[in-house]
């Protein structure tokens, strides 16, 4: 399969993620969109690693690191969401009201 298929898929996913970050106001949805961007990059990395001759296994190893880091990011993000919820008793955490977005 030509590599361009994967690159187009990845570019589309990444763009959807960027759109989500810019268009959504709820923090959890923004977080989801960021995860989408990270996974789009993972597709890129694995595709380059599998289909390019000059590229070794580095890309696939890197993808594992990205998955782990993304999980840590989700953990921190959700922790902040819970903290805000406990302080304000409001689930609508997307409204960052005290400061301009």
């Amino acid at each position: 399969m030509p590599i361009s298929y994967f690159l187009v898929l990845s570019a589309l996913l990444f763009s959807i993620g960027v759109y989500g970050v810019l268009a959504r106001r709820h923090a959890v949805l923004v977080l989801l969109s960021i995860e989408l961007m990270l996974n789009a990059v993972n597709i890129n990395l694995v595709a380059f690693s599998a289909l390019l001759e000059k590229a070794g296994l580095d890309g696939q190893v890197f993808a594992l690191f990205v998955i782990a880091v993304a999980a840590a990011e989700v953990g921190v993000g959700l922790a902040i969401v819970i903290l805000i919820y406990r302080n304000s008793q409001d689930t609508d955490v997307g409204e960052l009201s005290l400061m301009k977005w």
Binding site: M37, L38, S49, D58, E73, I80, L83, L96, M99
Partner: protein, 494 residues
């Protein structure tokens, strides 16, 4: 497929290992011992960990080699940055101790996170592969996101943490895409290459110009990701809010630490690996630098909150360091290092004064609260004056020498007009530092405080040390510049 197990020598990342081990130990000890009234052993343990990392970093001084299969560079540059970062960490831990006692906040996590953040920043300095740069970036960023939201009772703090987190992760995604493109363009993410395989530039030179477009696109994305961390201008939107919302000691640490870590990675990436492509990245970085200097200095003028004011000043300072980076010569690199080290100490001192003055809940941070400060707290006002003058770049302070060195490096490379922009924006910046001084010395205090703020012994020590360093390095800068000049970047392979 037989695997050859790489020889593992850990001297390159010994400082980081020391910090991470101390942080883990500290967190477990804190969790096992539980809530006690006086947890003096936590900052003590954190200080020991930071001291150990300074020791290991000095051990590695003078050697230049790659370690861990070319993933980590051990050179004077990395050692210099690591020692500087450990000093920032020590000042932050001491300052944080007084702060946490005043706020009656949980302590263990604070020190643990500061240690993890310092470890991540240190790894940035030595990273010789984009994978390691990414991991280091995330390590210190995740720790900082949590530290920013550390004022438990303040919704402002948590919202700024949320905002910093979302924007930071967003920029990280672009940085990551940049790494993926580098990998696609040259089939390697290594900044050096050499015996273990091809590096970015050597493979690029071998394959010829076919993929140069992809590599340049990737370069732009990498600059976006790192530019975010150093608060360069199109990517600075988080800075004022995060600085304002974070606990004051953390703000100082962010300003000092993430700036030197981000610039360490930028210096190695642009001035070493991508040096052959400098004609391509220079216009981009010059644009960013000019914008950063101008926007940072101009927007700071209208700020009424001291922490926001210092945030914009920190943006402007990122622009000044960029002039050294753009020069990309030896003087530029050593000048940038000198600048980042002295700026870090000065800004930590300034935020130490802010932390002491902000009172319980860390809330008295507007210019209004600083009226007539000199007549109330002459010593604190004097220290803050010194720090602000140094940030403004007035002679006899370290800030003046630092500006002189980076602008000199830019002029040496023929970018005299960039130095002119720097001087003009410095003059604008002097205006708002002066504004704070006027408020402190020439205005009447409005209301009497219900309770007088007290400076703890550790805070006093931090302020004293920072003030001493600011003065001494302003008069007697030779030794530190000498050291910075010998802190050369590992240049082989590329």
């Amino acid at each position: 497929m037989p695997l050859d197990i790489p020889a593992v020598r850990l001297t390159g990342i010994a400082p980081e290992i020391a910090l991470c081990a101390t942080a883990l130990l500290l967190l477990v000890i804190d969790a096992v011992l539980g809530e006690r009234r006086n947890r003096w052993y936590l900052p003590a343990l954190a200080s020991i960990g930071l001291g150990l990392s300074i020791y290991f970093a000095t051990e590695a001084w003078g050697t230049t080699r790659l370690e861990l299969s070319g993933m980590v560079a051990v050179d004077g540059f990395a050692s210099f940055v690591k020692i500087t970062l450990a000093v920032f960490g020590l000042l932050t831990v001491w300052l944080g101790r007084d702060f946490l006692v005043r706020e009656r906040a949980e302590e263990g996590e604070f020190y643990g996170l500061v240690l993890f953040a310092v470890a991540g920043m240190m790894l940035m300095a030595g990273a010789a592969d984009l994978i390691v740069v990414f991991l280091a970036l995330e390590t210190f960023s995740l720790a900082l996101y949590v530290l920013v939201g550390f004022r438990r009772r303040s919704l402002l703090s948590q919202e700024s943490s949320m905002k910093y987190f979302l924007l930071g992760s967003f920029s990280t995604a672009f940085f990551l895409l940049g790494i993926a493109f580098v990998y696609g363009a040259v089939g390697s993410t290594n900044l050096y290459g050499g015996e273990d395989g091809p590096g970015i530039v050597s493979s690029f030179m071998a394959t010829g110009a076919s993929d140069v477009g992809l590599l340049i696109l990737a370069m732009g994305l990498l600059i976006v990701g790192l530019g975010f961390k150093v608060a360069a201008v199109p990517f600075h939107m988080w800075t004022p809010d995060a600085y304002q919302g974070a606990p004051s000691p953390v703000t100082g640490f962010m300003a000092a630490g993430s700036k030197i870590a981000g610039f360490a990675a930028l210096l190695r990436l642009l001035d070493v690996t991508l040096y052959p492509l400098r004609e391509d990245w220079r216009p981009l970085v010059i644009g960013v630098a000019v914008l950063t200097m101008v926007v940072g200095s101009v927007l700071a003028v209208v700020q009424e909150d001291v922490k926001r004011l210092l945030a914009y000043s920190s943006i402007a300072h990122a622009g000044f360091v960029f002039t050294g980076l753009i020069a990309a010569n030896d003087r530029g690199v050593s000048g940038s290092l000198f600048y980042l080290a002295t700026y870090g100490i000065t800004v930590l001192g300034a935020f130490a004064v802010v932390a002491v003055l902000s009172g319980r809940d860390d809330e008295k941070v507007t210019l209004r609260d600083y009226r007539g400060l000199f007549y109330d707290r002459p010593l604190l006002a004097g220290a803050l004056t010194l720090f602000l003058l140094s940030l403004a770049g007035v002679p006899v302070t370290s800030g003046f020498v630092a500006k002189l060195v980076v602008f000199g490096a830019a002029i040496q490379e023929g970018y005299w007009w960039l130095a002119v922009v720097g001087m003009v924006t410095s003059a604008i910046a002097a205006f708002f530092y002066l504004k704070v001084l006027v408020v402190m010395y020439m205005q009447e205090k409005e209301t009497e405080d219900a309770e007088r703020v007290r400076s703890g012994p550790l805070s006093t020590g931090v302020i004293g040390l920072a003030a001493l360093a600011t003065i001494v390095l302003g008069l007697y800068w030779g030794p530190l510049i000498d050291v910075a000049e010998r802190a050369t970047l590992f240049f082989a392979g590329g």
